[in-house]
Amino acid sequence: MLAVRWAEMEALALHNVVALDGTFPVLAGASLEAPQGSLVAVLGGNGAGKTSLLRTLAGLTTIVEGSGQVLGFDLSTKASGLVGNVCLLGHGTGLYEELSPQANLKYLATIGRLNRSGVASALDRVGLTGRMATTPLQQLSAGQRRRAALASLILRSPALWLMDEPHASLDAGGRALVDALIAEAIWRGSTVVLTSHDPNEASAAADLVVELVGGATSGARSGGGGIHHVS
């Protein structure tokens, strides 16, 4: 039933959304529409509201004006429905520094009601094997921590991936890995929204490019990716 609704509706639909952080309007009129299975790139300078847009799509901010639907759930009334269907990769890893990538993922599998067998393959996929998988996060390099965070996304493989500057602090191999993971997610029918301040990097593969200025969307155009159709 839910799947039918998603197919009929846009996976993401924001209309003139104003969202607050305290009393400050981090979003001051953001609009966005994207079908399921698309890759959306959000561009903007520092403080333009890119991260806030992702947090809003995850149902983590208070919307005071406008309306938004994500995966068929109304952000003002039914944001709790997004739980388990959305992952947000921010600047932090979202993982416990004192625990190893493996322990972190096992914990996430338990609380997310996921199969624990996915842990090993997710760590494998990002190249965290052997000793790296069992070393506490705080002793790993920035790039390895980033890979651990990516592994947590693979483990959960949600319907909506929200990635805040996913290419930052990664080497060439890491960036290629991010691109490959995004392509896989899209291929499986997930929707991906990523932010970037580099127009060239983001818009090449994106189906839709949205520009944010001063917390408001100033324009949307189709990117080079073209819409992927999901059978």
């Binding site: 388990g84 921010g90 600047h91 609380i111």
Partner: protein
């Protein structure tokens, strides 16, 4: 709820085992507090023995702040609050798990201070079962109330100063009751035990229930 509680409980204790904050900071602090109180009370054996229970439990209450503060700071890492919420963890389970981990650490502190009170302050007890039951009930109450208030304060900036101010007055009944029971354990029989035990029990039940009920609302950021 209980599955999440167990997962959080194991996770918190694992982090504690890895970081050893409790071992290297909380336990020494509690031991120093015990010594300080002993110095303040003076070297008289009678005074020390009569104050032993009170000294021990004031030390435990102070240790509660440190342990609860640490327990909340685990969750303060970048992106952790969001990722927990989006993973769909049951807030009541988080509360029970975190309170459970705090309780285990508190029991360790109580054990150390209990031994210290026996060796250094001449604390005698004729009825061990009473000490054990009273301490367990008090521990449940302290960890439940501490975890609930810790989360309430956790999101605010003035965490270190606000937490003691809010929680200390709340914990007064636990302190009074458990100290009375420890003192009562020194003699072979005493009256009013049921009343004190029921205060500890009521406190534990009320604050555990409040935590289960409200923890989700505490954590919501919008």
């Amino acid at each position: 709820m209980f599955r999440d509680a167990w997962a959080v409980f194991v996770k918190d204790l694992r982090i504690e085992a890895a970081s050893r904050v409790g071992l290297w900071q909380v336990l020494p602090f509690a031991a120093i507090a015990l010594l300080l109180f002993a110095f303040a009370l003076g070297p008289s054996h009678r005074v020390l023995a009569s104050g032993a229970a009170g000294v021990t439990w004031v030390g435990v209450v102070f240790a509660t702040f440190l342990i609860v503060g640490r327990s909340q700071s685990i969750e303060a890492g970048a992106g952790i609050a969001e990722s927990q919420r989006l993973a769909g963890v049951d807030p009541a389970g988080v509360f029970l798990g975190k309170a459970g981990a705090v309780a285990v650490q508190l029991l360790a502190v109580e054990g150390l201070l209990g031994v210290g009170a026996r060796l250094l302050l001449d604390f005698h007890c004729a009825r061990w079962w009473l000490v054990v039951v009273a301490s367990l009930l008090a521990t449940i109450g302290l960890s439940a109330a501490g975890t609930l208030y810790g989360a309430l304060v956790g999101a605010t900036r003035a965490r270190e100063t606000l937490l003691p101010m809010l929680v200390l007055p709340v914990l007064v009944p636990v302190l009074i009751a458990v100290v009375r029971l420890w003192q009562a354990s020194g003699v072979a029989e005493g009256q009013g035990l049921a009343g004190w035990l029921s205060i500890l029990g009521t406190f534990a039940v009320i604050y555990t229930a409040a935590g289960i009920l409200f923890y989700g609302q505490v954590q919501e950021h919008s």
